[in-house]
């Protein structure tokens, strides 16, 4: 019997295989080893890659947050933290609400067609109660926190992102010709009392 292991391991076999059948079989076995080895190596990466996913403990810290709005003055902005993100709550004045219709031709998605808000907030005001605007305070471009400019200086927008210059109106709707692709995100929230909201639950 020829020693086939030596044929597999070195380029020039010590004893040449006698038939084409043997060559064929050797090649088949060798390719089988290569493929299985490759698949095995890829599978062995699983724990290293999976370990980077957020842990269950981390996910639990992302539970709902309750916020009392009864102390808010008209026009006031308040920032709370939910899942490590700034959540803005703004009690809009009637003047601010009236303003929403002015600039609509300058907006990219004035009807809020893009799924950037829960169903209950998919309306003209992008909120459940028109008065209270709730937004994730991170620019939809690359995640900086825009600056609130309620009296709008030289720019049309009311939120201005210092990083890349994106602008949003008093409902968090994005202007045209800025890098941010979509309106600011409205987080899932609901009113559990007249003036208390729960962020992170619908």
């Amino acid at each position: 019997m020829a020693d086939y292991t030596s044929i597999d391991l070195v380029d020039q076999p010590a004893t040449p295989p006698s038939s084409s059948l043997e060559i064929h079989r050797n090649r088949l076995l060798l390719n089988g080893v290569r493929v299985l080895g490759g698949v095995g190596a890829l599978c062995a990466l699983t724990p290293f890659i999976a370990s980077w996913n957020p842990t269950d403990a981390t996910k639990k810290t992302g539970g709902p947050v309750q916020v009392d709005l009864s102390q808010m003055q008209p026009g006031q902005k308040m920032t709370v933290e939910w899942r490590g993100k700034p959540i803005w709550i703004i009690r809009r004045t009637p003047a601010m609400l009236a303003q929403l219709e002015q600039d609509e031709q300058l907006l990219r998605d004035p009807e809020s067609r893009e799924q950037q808000q829960p169903q209950a907030a998919q309306n003209h005001f992008r909120s459940i109660k028109p008065e209270y605007l709730v937004l994730v305070g991170l620019c939809t471009h690359l995640g900086c926190s825009p600056v609130y400019k309620p009296n709008g200086e030289a720019i049309p927008g009311r939120f201005f992102c210092p990083c890349h210059g994106s602008q949003f109106d008093m409902a968090g709707r994005v202007y045209k010709h800025v890098p941010a692709p979509t309106n600011l995100e409205v987080p899932p929230y609901r009113f559990i009392q007249e003036h208390v909201i729960e962020i992170g639950a619908i």
Partner: protein, 439 residues
């Protein structure tokens, strides 16, 4: 007393020990010691290719005899790498990779640890120095066509190194946990979000949390101090091995290895050791002088090397009014900002780096060096360098309307260098390249 104690049985076997004639005694012992050293070296050399490597990389490695200062940048980059490793190891001894402790531990390094300020300034200045040296090193390659056949792979390895060092700088930038650290990491990890379908999952995977947090800081620390440095060392080694396999280019772009004397030595070359070894050494000394001036007198370089906003601890709810990445990334950052489209901006920014990989195949010129290339190539390279500087400036400053248009124009010039290269290098008139290096 050289070598006197090299063999433990030295003294016992020496017959001169009892003779009393001190001068001869010492001389004999020295000779004996040297013989023992030689034997030891020979023993080692037959088991480890020491002489072979020395010959291959220094005493018998022929380099063109017209190399200028640009060719010292590789050696300088090695010195900077060594500085980063050494100061980095010492910083690791005092740094705390937690979001509660990171910022304070840096302050303790600066104020309490003996010479802690020195390690930190060596490391932070070293990071900027690394990019100055590497960008010049890269410019040298473009100027003299060092990427052309047969050095394409040396170039590819160099570009991979640049990517690794950019990654290393990015991961390290989060560690002080200042405002710029936090928001820089927030923006950069968000970039992954533009990938269709899997983008958001990928962002959460990289951060290990809903936002940049403790998990992110700790894994960036691991990548910064272990994973990427190991890869950098591996690729530096490959870069050098590949270069010595194909030989060095030179400012004339003339292949010196084609014309050799009877013994096979290139006529227009000389061994790397001792002349170029000493030249590199002098260049390194000159560099270290400048480096120390910055480290000791201008460590923040007016806010360029250490940004004022990063002296404020990270605040997850408030982005600073004006943010920009470290200066060495601002040209690419300005491109990202100039494009009013999320995916488009990220694509432009990534391809600005990736296009450099393709240069060996985009350049269709029959000559290597800019000294023999035609006008189009010269204008294109000047445009590339100019736009790189201007974009770098725009990336550092606040965005205004005219700057945005300026950035868009510069982005076009930058990309023009690469995209039109196959055309302008083919149609332009090049000067005739002599066979030998002109004296």
């Amino acid at each position: 007393m050289s070598g006197a104690g090299n063999s433990p049985r030295d003294g016992l076997q020496d017959p001169e020990r009892v003779s009393g004639d001190k001068a001869t005694h010492i001389k004999r012992r020295e000779r004996h010691g040297q013989r023992t050293l030689k034997k030891l070296f020979k023993w080692l050399d037959t088991r480890l290719p020491i002489m072979n490597t020395w010959k291959r990389y220094a005493s018998d490695y022929y380099v063109p005899n017209n190399l200028n200062l640009y060719y010292c940048l590789g050696a300088i980059a090695l010195v900077v790498l060594f500085n980063q490793l050494l100061s980095g190891i010492w910083l690791t001894m005092f740094y705390t990779p937690t979001i509660a402790g990171a910022f304070d531990s840096i302050e303790i390094i600066m104020r309490e640890v003996h010479f802690g300020w020195l390690f930190r300034y060596l490391h932070s200045t070293g990071a900027s120095a690394f990019f100055i040296v590497l960008y010049l090193h890269l410019f040298r390659g473009l100027l003299y066509g060092s990427y052309q056949k047969p050095r394409e792979f040396v170039w590819i390895l160099g570009m991979l190194l640049l990517m690794l060092i950019l990654a290393e700088a990015f991961f390290g930038y989060l560690l002080p946990w200042g405002q710029m650290s936090y928001w820089g990491a927030q923006v950069m990890t968000s970039l992954l979000g533009v990938i269709p379908y899997v983008g958001d999952t990928l962002v959460a995977w990289v951060r290990g949390d809903y936002g940049v947090g403790q998990t992110t800081l700790q894994r960036f620390f691991a990548l910064h101090v272990i994973a990427i440095p190991l890869l950098i060392l591996l690729f530096v080694w490959l870069h050098i091995v590949a270069l010595h396999h194909v030989g060095s280019n030179n400012p004339e772009g003339i292949d010196i290895y084609r014309i050799r004397d009877k013994k096979g030595r290139p006529l227009d070359g000389m061994p790397f050791y001792p002349v170029y070894f000493i030249k590199d050494f002098l260049a390194v000394l000159l560099f270290l002088t400048l480096f120390c001036v910055v480290v000791f007198f201008y460590p923040d370089a007016g806010g360029l090397f250490l940004e004022p906003n990063n002296f404020i601890p990270a605040n997850r709810l408030l982005t600073p009014d004006h943010i920009s990445p470290a200066w060495y990334m601002t040209p690419f950052y300005a491109m990202l900002r100039a494009i009013p489209h999320k995916t488009g901006g990220v694509l432009v920014m990534c391809s600005a780096v990736l296009l450099l990989f393709l240069v060996p195949w985009l350049d269709k010129s029959p000559v290597r060096s800019m000294r023999y290339k035609g006008m189009y190539s010269k204008f294109a390279l000047a445009g590339l360098v100019g736009s790189f500087f201007i974009l770098g400036y725009f990336g550092l400053t606040e965005m205004t309307s005219w700057r945005q248009w300026g950035a868009r124009f510069c982005t076009l010039v930058y990309f023009g260098y690469f995209l039109f290269m196959p055309i302008y290098t083919r149609v332009e008139r090049c000067a005739r390249v002599p066979d030998r290096i002109p004296v």
